[in-house]
Symmetry: none
Amino acid sequence: MQVIQFKFDNERPIYLQLVEQLRIAIVSGAYPAGSRLPSVRELAVMAKVNPNTMQKALAELESDQLIFTERTNGKYVTKDQRRLEKIKSGLAKELVQNYFDAMAKIGITRAESIKYLQK
Amino acid sequence: MQVIQFKFDNERPIYLQLVEQLRIAIVSGAYPAGSRLPSVRELAVMAKVNPNTMQKALAELESDQLIFTERTNGKYVTKDQRRLEKIKSGLAKELVQNYFDAMAKIGITRAESIKYLQK
Amino acid sequence: MQVIQFKFDNERPIYLQLVEQLRIAIVSGAYPAGSRLPSVRELAVMAKVNPNTMQKALAELESDQLIFTERTNGKYVTKDQRRLEKIKSGLAKELVQNYFDAMAKIGITRAESIKYLQK
Amino acid sequence: MQVIQFKFDNERPIYLQLVEQLRIAIVSGAYPAGSRLPSVRELAVMAKVNPNTMQKALAELESDQLIFTERTNGKYVTKDQRRLEKIKSGLAKELVQNYFDAMAKIGITRAESIKYLQK
DNA sequence: GTGGTCTAGACCACT
DNA sequence: GTGGTCTAGACCACG
């Protein structure tokens, strides 16, 4: 069973932070396509949160089609590689945007930001 | 007088967050080289912190040679453009590193991270 | 616990005088390399100053790398003998300079000042 | 008329500090052997002290035979070169002692203190 | 009015 | 108990 380190700040709802961190765990391959996730209770213990909170986070991921449920068997990462790629690329775009925004904040243009990266 | 919006989280000391935000304000040109900063007390009001806390943050910036003090006159941004550039480029390097780290976390390599940026 | 006698004049900030006297205590070996300093509060009592003032002085010494902090344990003299020697020799140079300056003031040249010492 | 800059701290009697500073002015040659000193009133103005205080300081110097008074004419530096030399050498000894004491305080021996001086 | 210093007193995390 | 942070409030020198 793949163990994850969860970390939270007090600024935003815990379940949203769980969603983010689980999403990262999945697209990064920590939980590969088609693999079975630890049980809700196990995940809740890892994260030191209430199982209900973890359940809420997983429901979010499911409605996103990143995971699916097999009735009596547990939750699995989607086998749809395209879906995974799409989410991953969405996250990547966000990070790119964050990078550009932060650079803009200190007065560095988009073009310069790209040059900086290559050093 | 240039007004800044300060924002804090409860995770790290306020004075350190002040240092960071003032540093950004300076390298971004919000307070240009050689210009006079608002008084310690004014800045403290803007940030809604105790003047002593603001004083501590400014002392940090001064020991970093980003600002200097004219005893009874106020505090000024350094006129040393090279110093400013050095700090700015230091901040930029940090952001670049953060970007690569975040991308690595979702399983995207350095090379791919650079490509992503150009889209 | 090594007790120090602190003395102040009213000309200069107390915390700077604390820095000087603590620095001397350390390089002289009153607080040996690697040894634990009395707690901030104890030192404050010894010096009859507010703990915050002592804290400020110790922060100065720490940024000078003469001491380091173990978070919940206390503050310790650096183990870096070279650092200690460097500081000590810096202080010595200052004293030499003071001596020459004072001798010059009463009209005694550098060369004569050296001779005087050997008597 | 030779002008002197007087400086005082609040720790010791002003007149004693005047004595010290005048003594230095004399042995250093600022007021050469046999030369006439500015009047008590002039000296008092220079030092921004009450003429009585200056008078007391000069009396001290006179009892030390560093200066002498010509009734209606003013005060003069002694013409006795040997006296001047003796005072000067007394001051020098004091400075040497101070130097050794200060070096001892930071843990440097007499022998090492002499070596330090030659660098 | 400016920055700087100092005290008193409180609260925090960590172990 | 340790160091660290923060606030409130006061006083100082300087010009």
